[in-house]
């Protein structure tokens, strides 16, 4: 593999990691901590959405992210 191939691979890698990190921050920090009050006004059944995202939904998303990076890396 040439140096250019390596550069291209690393750029793609960084790009993917950045996207996944943005999703990670969005779910955990933004949804779980910063905007919980607003999200708590939406209700699924009897449960407020902000609470659910912090306790369960964020973990689902994290597992999906981990699967994603593992499948990409082979």
């Amino acid at each position: 593999m040439t140096t250019n191939d390596f550069k291209g691979y690393w750029q793609d890698n960084k790009h993917l990691i950045l996207i996944l990190l943005v999703v990670w921050a969005a779910v955990s920090l933004v949804c779980g901590i910063l905007f919980v009050e607003q999200l708590n006004k939406i209700h699924i059944g009897k449960l407020s959405l902000g609470f659910w995202v912090a306790q369960q939904g964020s973990i689902f998303v994290f597992v999906i992210l981990i699967f994603n990076i593992c499948l990409v890396h082979g």
């Binding site: 990691i17 955990s28 964020s58 973990i59 994290f62 992210l65 981990i66």
Partner: protein, 174 residues
């Protein structure tokens, strides 16, 4: 030799059990570094992942995190998100490169990737702090659980687990 107080008639069985543990450790000894750290890569992937998952369902999660969340209320969810979220960080930023570098421990990997011995020492100190904190909590949890089962004081159980670990690891590393 016996930091916890043991009655005189218990010295015999205590010595016997420690010899037994040392023997088990010695029989499990391995020759190469890869044997000690990654079981010679001989464990099937699914069994390995199952063991990692079981490590998560340990005293730290069951007892400590459940207790923290029930006492802190919603604020306890930072521990939930932190726990799994940092796992995401590990998988994204550390794990693939650890494997490709062929190093077994994170301080080795950090020292080699960044060509810096200072970085390696910092990583070692951080690893020691983390391990110390985690193991202290686990030993306490073990003591609590078994003390309810068998009505032996928590301190004695904590000491027993520590002794088991101390005897097992050096023997198996040969």
């Amino acid at each position: 030799m016996f930091p916890e107080s043991i009655a005189t008639e218990q010295i015999g069985p205590t010595c016997l059990s420690r010899l037994r543990l040392s023997y088990i450790g010695w029989s499990a000894r391995v020759r190469e570094t890869s044997g000690f750290y990654v079981a010679g890569r001989g464990v099937p992937a699914i069994a390995n992942r199952a063991a990692t998952a079981a490590d998560w369902m340990s005293a730290a999660s069951f007892i400590s995190m459940a207790g923290l969340i029930s006492f802190m209320g919603y604020d306890g969810s930072i521990y939930l998100m932190g726990w799994t979220g940092v796992y995401v960080l590990l998988a994204l930023l550390l794990a693939p490169y650890l494997r490709e570098f062929g190093k077994y421990t994170v301080p080795d990997f950090v020292g080699d990737r960044y060509y810096s011995d200072t970085a390696r020492v910092v990583a070692v100190i951080a690893a020691i702090f983390v391990s110390f904190t985690y193991v202290a909590g686990q030993m306490r949890g073990v003591g609590i659980v078994f003390s309810r089962f068998l009505e032996i004081s928590i301190e004695k159980w904590a000491w027993s687990s520590v002794w088991s670990l101390l005897l097992f690891s050096p023997c198996s590393a040969e």
